[in-house]
């Protein structure tokens, strides 16, 4: 369900206190931070990667980076924005590596498996919309993942991506149009 993450502004001061505890080496505080933001972070990473296993790996890398870098939080943005910034760096790094030629084991497994379209649908949660979102260019998929899946306010999405709110809106609009086009093309076949 959308919006399961508490979004009230009142929760933010607690976040920075929790992060301070993480910086001091408190592992339980990292667990608390994950309890609060794990769902939104994972939703974002799942849409970005289109693959549950990859998303879990990036999420774990993100937690490691948060654990090691918590002392570097400078409170210039909210803790959540900072967390998404780290997750995004990890995701971009991982997904860039992935655009290298696919490893042989995947080719091997493909023999017995269903066709690519079917797999894409399965990998992205079993819905045609999710599959269409998975086929969007990175910069469109990213705004959809942040605004629609992680449920962040557009201003925060703009902060994470380092672009204006207007650009976020236009990308969302274009992403939506592209998804509709992809779905229509799917229906025509």
């Amino acid at each position: 369900m959308m919006g399961a993450m508490p979004r009230a502004a009142g929760i933010e001061p607690h976040d920075s206190a929790v992060l301070a505890a993480v910086a001091a080496g408190d592992g339980a505080a990292l667990g608390e931070l994950y309890r609060r933001h794990g769902r939104a972070l994972f939703g974002y990473l799942l849409r970005m990667s289109g693959d549950r296993m990859v998303a879990e790996e990036i999420l774990q890398d993100t937690l490691v980076a948060v654990w090691r870098g918590a002392a570097g939080f400078e409170a210039r943005a909210s803790v959540r924005t900072w967390l998404f910034g780290i997750a995004r760096r990890q995701a971009l790094q991982r997904l860039r590596k992935r655009s290298a030629p696919a490893p042989a084991e995947i080719v091997d497994r493909a023999d017995a498996a269903p066709g690519p379209e079917e797999l894409a649908v399965l990998a992205s949660g079993g819905t045609a919309v999710a599959a269409a979102v998975g086929r969007l260019p990175d910069h469109h998929r990213e705004v959809v993942a942040l605004a629609m899946v992680a449920g962040l306010p557009l201003a925060e999405v703009a902060g994470i991506l380092g672009i204006s709110v207007g650009t976020v809106k236009s990308r969302l609009f274009n992403a939506r149009a592209a998804v509709v086009r992809l779905l229509a093309a799917e229906e025509d076949r």
């Binding site: 369900m1 959308m2 919006g3 993480v22 080496g25 990292l30 667990g31 994950y34 794990g38 994972f42 939703g43 799942l46 849409r47 289109g50 693959d51 879990e56 999420l59 937690l63 490691v64 654990w67 090691r68 918590a70 002392a71 570097g72 780290i86 995004r88 760096r89 971009l92 790094q93 992935r98 655009s99 995947i106 690519p116 894409a120 990998a123 992205s124 949660g125 079993g126 819905t127 045609a128 919309v129 999710a130 998975g134 086929r135 260019p137 990175d138 910069h139 990213e142 959809v144 605004a147 629609m148 899946v149 449920g151 557009l154 991506l161 672009i163 969302l172 609009f173 939506r176 509709v180």
Partner: protein, 276 residues
């Protein structure tokens, strides 16, 4: 019937303003097509059940100590100033190719030798060498540097400053002792270096190198009285003087470069979909 397709994503995310929210709600009650669409957008996040707390445990076990906190308390006070810059500088030293140190050093030593006979030689060589080496290290794109920066919480601005400072100090230490007109040389070097840094951040090292060479040539042309219109020449000469304005311009350019380093668009991979 007009379908509120454009409002559906915001409706599902719960970010639609109240009045439009109720309009969409009313429409969905009577339109099966839009209700299906809304359910589809909602399903985007439905499959995103996050892993359990075991993932936190795994993260903690993979790197048992945070960078700080695990260190003794007193080192927090005494070591704080250096704990970030020093490891950062060491890491960047490993990432800067050796040619970035060797070729400027060679050019500057040569400039030093020539300036025994032509005293102004080093003041002409130093700014250009400085600008070219800064252009090389300020480029935001080349792997593995950009990969490392994106993988860590360290700000790309801090990394840029660290790299540029190290190279600048190195070049000045090698070149400055043999430069005659140190004030003039330093002012020109500062402007040219800051310009190269900004161009490298925004457009890459190659463009920065071309810009630095062209701009430096304009100054040499002004020096040699090759620029005909007198007012133009006066502006060029004034800009390259060692007055406070020169350093202010250099500082301003460097600040813009650092600011620009933190604002990059998302990197686009060559493939948008999952490899299947």
């Amino acid at each position: 019937m007009t379908h509120p397709s454009a409002d559906l994503p915001e409706f599902v995310a719960g970010t639609l303003p109240g009045d439009r929210m109720s309009t969409v709600e009313r429409h969905l009650a009577g339109c099966a097509r839009c209700a299906t669409d809304a359910a589809a957008w909602g399903a985007l996040s439905a499959g995103a059940e996050p892993p359990g707390p075991h993932i936190v445990v795994a993260a903690l076990q993979s790197r048992p100590t945070p960078l700080t906190g695990a260190l003794p308390r007193q080192s927090r006070l005494h070591g704080f100033r250096w704990r970030v810059p020093l490891p950062l500088a060491r890491a960047q030293l490993r990432l800067i190719p050796w040619l970035v140190w060797v070729s400027p050093a060679a050019a500057l030593v040569l400039g030093g030798v020539v300036s025994r006979h032509r005293p102004e030689a080093q003041s002409l060589v130093l700014p250009l060498v400085l600008a070219l080496s800064i252009a090389t290290v300020a480029d935001q794109d080349p792997a593995p540097v950009s990969d490392v920066v994106r993988a860590t919480p360290t700000s790309p601005r801090a990394v840029l400053l660290c790299r540029v400072l190290m190279v600048a100090v190195f070049d000045l230490v090698v070149g400055l002792p043999t430069a005659v007109d140190r004030g003039g040389g330093l002012g020109a070097a500062a402007v040219l270096a800051a310009l190269a840094m900004l161009t490298a951040v925004v457009r890459g090292a190659e463009t920065a190198a071309v810009v630095a060479v062209v701009v430096w040539a304009s100054r040499l042309a002004a020096d040699q009285d090759l620029i005909a219109p007198h007012p133009v020449r006066a502006v060029v000469v004034a800009l390259w003087g060692a007055g406070p304005w020169t350093f202010a311009v250099a500082f301003g350019l460097a600040v813009v470069a650092v600011a620009a380093a933190g604002r990059s668009e998302p990197v686009r991979g060559s493939r948008a979909t999952t490899p299947v």
